[in-house]
């Protein structure tokens, strides 16, 4: 086992810890339209989109467990929701390999909505004694909007942290090379075959 093989897990552990600390110590204390942004599902989503389904699911489990531990909540609830977010973000990358720059916004919105509605569902299953206001759905909607705006910067930050440690994906390498113009099929053939003879033109 070399240091290289530990680079991604070490970075993900540091990222998870920093995210939870910054979220709970600062971001959750800033009120925007009566609710707060939640960076944790966005970070899990970004790791899934960048690193794949297994790292995404493990990151989801870890971040969820850390949130539940540090905030003294029922253990396992947040983990369960974040595993799904990390896994499906990763599957989206593996199955579709979306390249559009706004994909993190859409996936971030879906991840936040899933976390909000999923938490409500689990709490109802565990039993709620208090009356539930319809404003719950309004609050979830506002949280989704706020997180959608934050999804791109969060994705960019996570990309800077995670991408240098990721193994090169052949599909991505090929597409990147093609789109930058450095290795188009025409240039490749010319390089391979050498200069075209004058009489052939």
């Amino acid at each position: 086992m070399s240091y290289e093989s530990f680079r991604l897990p070490l970075r993900l552990i540091a990222l998870a810890f920093l995210t939870v600390v910054i979220q709970e110590a600062a971001v959750s204390q800033i009120s925007i339209f009566g609710t707060s942004a939640d960076l944790t599902p966005l970070v899990v989503m970004a790791v899934g989109l960048l690193a794949g389904s297994i790292p995404g699911a493990i990151m989801g489990f870890g971040v969820g467990l850390l949130v539940d531990l540090l905030l003294f909540q029922t253990l396992g609830v947040t983990s369960l929701l974040y595993i799904a977010i990390g896994y499906w973000s990763g599957r989206l990358r593996e199955l579709r390999d979306p390249s559009h720059g706004l994909v993190p916004m859409g996936v971030g919105a879906a991840a936040t909505a899933f976390a909000g509605l999923g938490m409500a569902l689990i709490q109802f299953l565990l039993g709620v004694d208090s009356p539930v206001s319809f404003l719950l759905f309004q609050q979830i909607f506002i949280a989704v909007l706020v997180n959608t705006l934050l999804a791109l910067p969060v994705y960019a930050l996570v990309k800077r942290v995670v991408e240098p440690t990721l193994p090169q994906d052949p599909r991505r390498r090929r597409r990147r090379a093609y789109t930058t113009g450095g290795l188009s099929p025409l240039q490749q053939s010319r390089t391979r075959l050498g200069p075209t003879p004058r009489g052939a033109r």
């Binding site: 800033i30 707060s36 942004a37 297994i54 905030l71 003294f72 253990l75 396992g76």
Partner: protein, 294 residues
């Protein structure tokens, strides 16, 4: 090769889901002394200094962001608050006279005032972590058993009741706010009949509580203050001392006549306070009463 990868992926996800479900089941069904709670308490104790450091380090960012929202909110409140101040000044004079009369009469009658708020020792604590979710209204604070804090101690902030201590370690406490769905308090309206009921949160709306079980003919009106009741019967004592303001009646409507309930807005701004006071000691009663929540 491909099927091996698929099997491995599915096995990892299944294992994580199973572990989460086991944790959830064991934690939810267990008592507060089960090993998971102990582990959780240990983890928070270890991380508490880091939480405190992070909270202090990140406070400038928090303050800048809150400056803008607070400024806009304050501007919209100015006119209403000026009117309210005039009305309250008149009420204050009457209340001071009533308080002095009450004090004299209590001494003459020999009323037991050992459960009053004056007999508690307040411990000031800083908020280090805050839960952002709509379901868990809790905050972590930086004082614990080393400072004399115990489970179920009442917590005030922003001039009103904000919650109670629901978990405590040597250097931290978890305060569950009155808007958490597990909370319920006995409360009294400052109306001519001093009507009492049970104050519960309205899940999903962090700025609203519901005062239930009021008499249907109660003379409750919008704007009246809702306080803690604070009863004491032999060894049995309410969790909260009497007379701590909790909220203000914000809407009465037909719900009072039909269901015996009114809507209450918390006095404290529960999303913004940074400092709380935990009322510790005297714990005169050996048994403390709490409304059933489940």
């Amino acid at each position: 090769m491909h099927s091996k990868q698929v099997r491995r992926r599915r096995a990892v996800v299944a294992a994580l889901v199973v572990v989460s479900l086991i944790l959830l089941t064991a934690y939810f069904g267990g008592s507060s002394n089960n090993p998971l709670h102990t582990v959780q308490r240990g983890v928070v104790t270890v991380f508490s200094p880091i939480q405190k450091g992070a909270s202090v380090a990140l406070s400038p960012f928090r303050d800048i962001a809150n400056f803008f929202s607070d400024t806009f909110k304050a501007k919209s409140q100015v006119a209403g608050l000026r009117t309210e101040v005039h009305a309250l000044q008149a009420k204050l004079a009457q209340a001071e006279y009533a308080a002095s009369l009450n004090s004299q009469l209590s001494k003459q009658v020999g009323l037991d005032s050992s459960d009053s708020i004056a007999s508690y020792r307040p411990v000031t604590a800083d908020v280090t972590f805050r839960d952002p979710s709509l379901w868990y209204a809790t905050v972590n604070v930086d004082k614990g058993t080393a400072d004399g804090i115990r489970m179920n101690d009442p917590v005030t902030g922003d001039g009103a009741l904000v919650g109670q201590v629901t978990a405590v370690g040597s250097n931290f406490s978890i305060v569950t706010l009155i808007t958490d769905h597990t909370m319920a308090e006995a409360a009294q309206v400052e109306d001519p009949g001093s009507d009492t009921g049970v104050l519960v949160p309205a899940v999903g709306n962090p700025n609203q509580l519901v005062l239930q079980d009021l008499p249907r003919n109660a003379s409750v009106q919008t704007g009246q203050i809702v306080n803690t009741v604070g009863f004491k019967a032999g060894q049995l004592q309410d969790l909260y001392p009497p007379g701590i303001p909790i909220g203000q009646v914000s809407y009465v409507g037909n719900d009072l006549a039909n269901n015996g309930q009114v809507q209450v807005t918390p006095v404290a701004d529960l999303r913004h306070f940074d400092v709380v006071q935990i009322l510790t000691a005297p714990h005169a009663g050996t048994a403390r009463a709490q409304l059933p929540t489940g």
